[in-house]
Subunit: 357 residues, 2 copies
């Protein structure tokens, strides 16, 4: 970085597309917190949000409307927009020479688009024939750094995953919906007879199919074949692609819980080799991007309330399966807006920027 | 039942020990709702609660203090008291000829005490050399009726389970604690920076090691060897005993969630035989005590908000593992105070009562 600053090489211009959303807001925070390698930072959003002023690196910056011209002179663009917007606009930006780091689901499983987690498969970022690099889904990202480290040591053979997903995975509307529902159930004795929470919440379920306050909802995303949800298929398919294990058996059930931000997951991971808890702890304790927080007798295990707002993947409850010396049980937490979205996008953008010198 | 009512045989006398607790309260509701096979119903609690009047079968009944004499003339006693109270008093009652149906953890794994779920192993109730029948833990009970039905058909070979446990599993104090915490976080923007919920809640964590509002806590019970919790060991050991599969591999992670009542579980179940979703659905749709509620495209899957206050085990999200034709994924909900505790105890007591005629 210092070479970049002292040799007078032009600093790259960055565009943040979707700057006003839940993830976009965290992108701007992260750009203000990390080593500042960027020249101009251009903020872009839908025409509806154009003209708003947001603060990045301490400076008020006006939001531009998404257009072809907004990409002129841009080196790298971080996209957080709906799938259909990304599908249309990422190729437009790429055609103008921009490297697009995209957080939508539009390109992740395309064979000629790399899906990158810098701690796990940084090399993959260099091969991007379409000028697009995809960022994984937040649920995958909340566990994959820890699993990548264990896979390097033991060779992953099977995953069984259950999620405890925060409402901000559904954006600002998800957070607003939970807060409204919490206000409606506070001070009541609801949650004790069938449908009482549903009646209190009424139509106020926002982006969720069911009430989330005082409830858990075993559904995220849209229907896929054979009863699976799109979110569950993403966790399976993306984990396989990132780890380079295209046939890895992955069983997933995704469940929404009344937490604002930070996804948690239970993981049953089976490996090629026999594992030990001591060995696994050593790997996790030294893996970049991972915090091992695992001493239940002292009350130490990660929870969303502690992990929210932090960068790493937190791992606790590390146990060897009692009936299988090749399997580990883990409880993993990651801030779904930071490492689960904005931070990983920023890390990928930094990897791309570092190539230029 | 009608024979019992018409032949003039003396109806059995029932004692409810722990009548004033969270489970005891539901026991009295259930006794008022089910076919009335009982003669006298005697309510028993600690001396602190003696003299209180509670309603059962529409009649106000005074609570007696726990003593040896309170069991005179009692045929069957349903116990819901702390482990150490059960360990002391269940043998006292049994020595006076009472059949004790005990919901504590004191006797469940004793080889000469049957652990009974009437839909799964009703025959086991007849062999009770100590005069004690144990009722399983609420987390085990929330899934075991569905698993018993699938095991009968396919032969269970492995379980991987993650729980989403309600706060009433920790009794009235658990419910009160969640309600107080919900009131403290309502109308705020908490849940977005590390420790903000913890600071708002302060020391007000009740029976839980961490805040449960806007959080999930990967711990229930007390520490056991190698990082496991007592709750996780119960689910493993009790499932094996009830199903008669002493070597079944069972991996469990227990997590507390901000739900008042109704435990949910994700289950990855591997069988001896190849399974089909159609076959599994047919088994679950016709199994006694099970409701299949599984049409995600129509928004149908069980959630605690719908299941609370109902008797059956609700099963949804039935899928065959994509990478293993012998494995199923399920999402299961059961009211932890009803089938998870009071209802199953009452069903066992009814089984015992039916033997007498």
């Amino acid at each position: 970085m210092s070479r970049l600053l002292t040799t007078g090489i032009r600093r790259p211009t960055l565009a943040v597309v979707g700057a006003t959303g839940a993830v976009g807001t965290v992108m701007l925070q992260i750009l203000s917190q990390r080593a500042d390698i960027w020249g101009e930072i251009r903020l872009v959003a839908s025409p509806r949000s154009a003209g708003r002023k947001l603060t990045v690196r301490g400076q008020e910056t006006e939001v531009s409307a998404l257009s072809e011209e907004v990409f002129d002179g841009v080196d790298i663009a971080m996209f957080d927009v709906p799938d259909e917007v990304a599908a249309k606009w990422a190729p437009v930006a790429a055609a103008r020479g921009v490297v697009v780091v995209d957080n939508s689901g539009a390109f992740r499983m395309e064979p000629d688009v790399p899906l990158v987690v810098p701690e796990v498969n940084p090399h993959a970022v260099r091969s991007r024939p379409r000028g697009i690099v995809a960022n994984p889904n937040c649920t995958t990202l909340s566990m994959i750094v820890a699993l990548g480290a264990l896979h390097s040591a033991y060779g992953l053979r099977e995953l069984v995953v259950s999620s405890y997903q925060a409402v901000s995975g559904a954006g600002r509307a998800g957070v607003e919906t939970l807060r409204q529902q919490i206000s409606l159930v506070a001070g009541t004795e609801l949650g004790t007879s069938p449908g009482d929470v549903r009646r209190a919440v009424g139509d106020n379920t926002g982006p969720f199919p069911e009430p989330v306050a005082l409830n858990v909802v075993p559904w995220a995303g849209s229907p896929r074949a054979d009863g699976w949800s799109s979110e569950e298929m993403k966790v399976r398919d993306e984990s396989r692609k990132i780890l380079g294990l295209p046939k890895l058996p992955v069983a997933v059930t995704c469940v929404r819980v009344p937490v604002v931000t930070t996804h948690s997951l239970t993981v049953h991971a089976r490996f090629q080799d026999t594992v030990t808890v001591g060995g696994a702890r050593e790997i996790l304790a030294t893996a970049p991007g991972v915090v091992l927080f695992d001493n239940p007798e002292a009350g130490e295990y990660p929870t969303p309330a502690d992990v929210v707002g932090t960068d790493p993947t937190w791992v606790g409850r590390v146990r060897r399966a009692l009936d299988d010396p090749t399997a580990l049980e883990l409880f993993v937490c990651g801030d779904n807006l930071r490492k689960g979205a904005a931070l990983n996008v920023a890390q990928i953008a930094e990897l791309v920027a570092a190539e230029r010198h």
